[in-house]
Amino acid sequence: MTALARSDDELVAAAQRGDGAAMDQLLRRHYGRVHAVCRRIAGSTRDADDAAQEAMIRVVRNLDRFDGRSAFGTWVYRIATNTALDELRKRKRRPQLHVVGPDDAEAGPREPVDDMAHRAVDGVADRLSIDAALAELPDEFKAAVIMRDVGDLDYAEIAVALDIPIGTVKSRIARGRRILVEQLGNQETTPERPTDNPPHDP
């Protein structure tokens, strides 16, 4: 009988011996954050779904090679990051559908139904702007920032995952965030959608 809250190490050892329940538990434990990492790197939910699934499969395929030198989570998020970057590269090679933006709204602004709806719209807009800013970020910065801010890995873990020195991790995260702030600043100074309080006529 399996006790609750078995550690990753215990589950990995069991899964490496062929214990399907342990493998299932490991995958469920890490899927949420794997998906979040993929979502931020790949930039769309659909691509994140595909990347997260592929990452799960790669974890299974390579489990025998996991030797425990890093934490299992670090290893998994490294796989997720690489898989999502692969997905992103694939997507860049294929034609994209046109994303409807504010310029396409010829019928004028829609008024929010209520305050909650307004907040939801703001939330979606905020996520879209983050996605747009992340999309402009070079991959090496993106991977470091997302592993830190979404994957919640510390600098040492990111250094292991990306096989770079800790000092490089530190600078990539800082530079990546600086670029993001600049991107977001540019977006926010550009009027992308009408506000609730249009300027009064002089």
Binding site: M1, T2, A3, L4, A15, R17, G18, D19, G20, A21, M23, D24, Q25, L27, R28, Y31, G32, H35, A36, R39, R40, T45, A48, D49, D50, A52, Q53, E54, M56, I57, V59, V60, R61, G123, D126, R127, I130, L134, V145, I146, R148, D149, V150, D154, Y155, K170, S171, I173, A174, R177, R178, L180, V181, L184
Partner: protein
């Protein structure tokens, strides 16, 4: 703000400073102002919608299918519960027949090419296929075994045989297996979430027969006895799934009257074998988390859990 201050602010936000460095940062208003904005930025980056449960389940199902392929002897234990059927044996026999037929074709082909044309790779492939067919066509083999037979034959031929004829025959194996009724499994593409979901959807989700198979087709599997003590997490999962199905069809007996929180969703009481001792527990089914939990009857504390096998609409 200079670069040093900016790096300091970032490391502060990330909790990567020594005590001395932290004091230095906190004494610098410029750094702390940047810290405030970085905290907001981090929150925005981390604000990601959670995956949909069906997407998660499809991804995990696809990964577990891969796991099953890699360690078929023991890894099939997380499949949804299903009763054994005569059909599965017929599928295995069909796969074996296809394999034996294929072997005959190969022998004839090699013979036509002449004995001297048979290189070592082809010989190895014949041997692989022969042993694969022999191994996989055992009397107790069923659906998954048939999968392995078809997959291994196709894979081995694709990998080992270099001639165009060999590749065509490898494809024929897969096609023949599909014609024989193996299409749902042997040729399923689980590389996308939707396809993986389809694989799961082919499994019987509701079955009121208590003879739930907790592990699947191989010899190590057992049939769940709803009255016997539960001995492992898979049996627990299967029993929870069974309870849920009973509830869906309106046949669930009255649930125990407990003092435990209602959100545990306790559906029954059973005996489990925990640390070699029989232990009375409540069985709770957590549909959202897809877990079945054995709960201590005195304290309402979860003791052990198992996977809920179904992916319900």
């Amino acid at each position: 703000m200079n670069d040093d201050q900016y790096l300091l602010a970032n490391a502060y936000v990330d909790g990567e400073l020594t005590d001395d460095e932290r004091r230095t940062a906190e004494a610098d208003p410029t750094v702390m102002a940047e810290v405030e904005s970085l905290i907001v930025l981090r929150a925005r980056i981390a604000d990601v919608d959670p995956p949909l449960p069906d997407v998660r389940d499809a991804a995990i199902a696809a990964a577990m299918t891969e796991f099953s392929r890699r360690s078929p002897a023991v890894s099939t234990t997380v499949e949804p519960p299903q009763r054994r059927s005569f059909g599965s044996r017929y599928l295995a026999i069909a796969a074996a027949v296809v394999g034996v037929g294929l072997l005959g074709v190969i022998v004839a082909t090699v013979g036509n090419r002449g004995q001297n044309d048979a290189d070592s790779a082809t010989e190895a492939t014949e041997s692989d296929i022969a042993s694969s067919v022999a191994d996989q066509a055992a009397p107790n083999a069923d659906r998954e075994t048939a999968d392995v037979a078809a997959d291994s034959a196709a894979d081995e031929m694709s990998a080992d045989m270099s001639s165009e004829m060999s590749l065509e025959m490898a494809q024929d194996v897969t096609g023949a297996a599909a014609d024989g009724g193996l299409a749902d499994d042997a040729t399923s593409d689980t590389s996308s979430p939707s396809n993986a979901a389809t694989v799961m959807a082919t499994e019987p989700l509701v079955d009121v027969d208590p003879a739930y198979d907790t592990a699947g087709p191989d010899a190590q599997r057992s049939t769940l006895d709803v009255d016997a003590p539960i001995t492992d997490d898979l049996e627990l999962g299967a029993y929870g799934t069974y309870l849920l199905d009973q509830q869906l069809v309106g046949r669930l007996p009255p649930t125990p009257n407990t003092k435990c929180p209602p959100d545990l969703n306790i559906l029954d009481e059973r005996v489990i074998v925990l640390n070699d001792d029989d232990t009375d527990v409540y069985i709770a089914v957590q549909v959202i988390d897809q877990r079945v939990i054995a709960v201590d009857r005195e304290t309402c504390v979860p003791l052990v859990d198992g996977p809920l096998f179904v992916d319900r609409p």
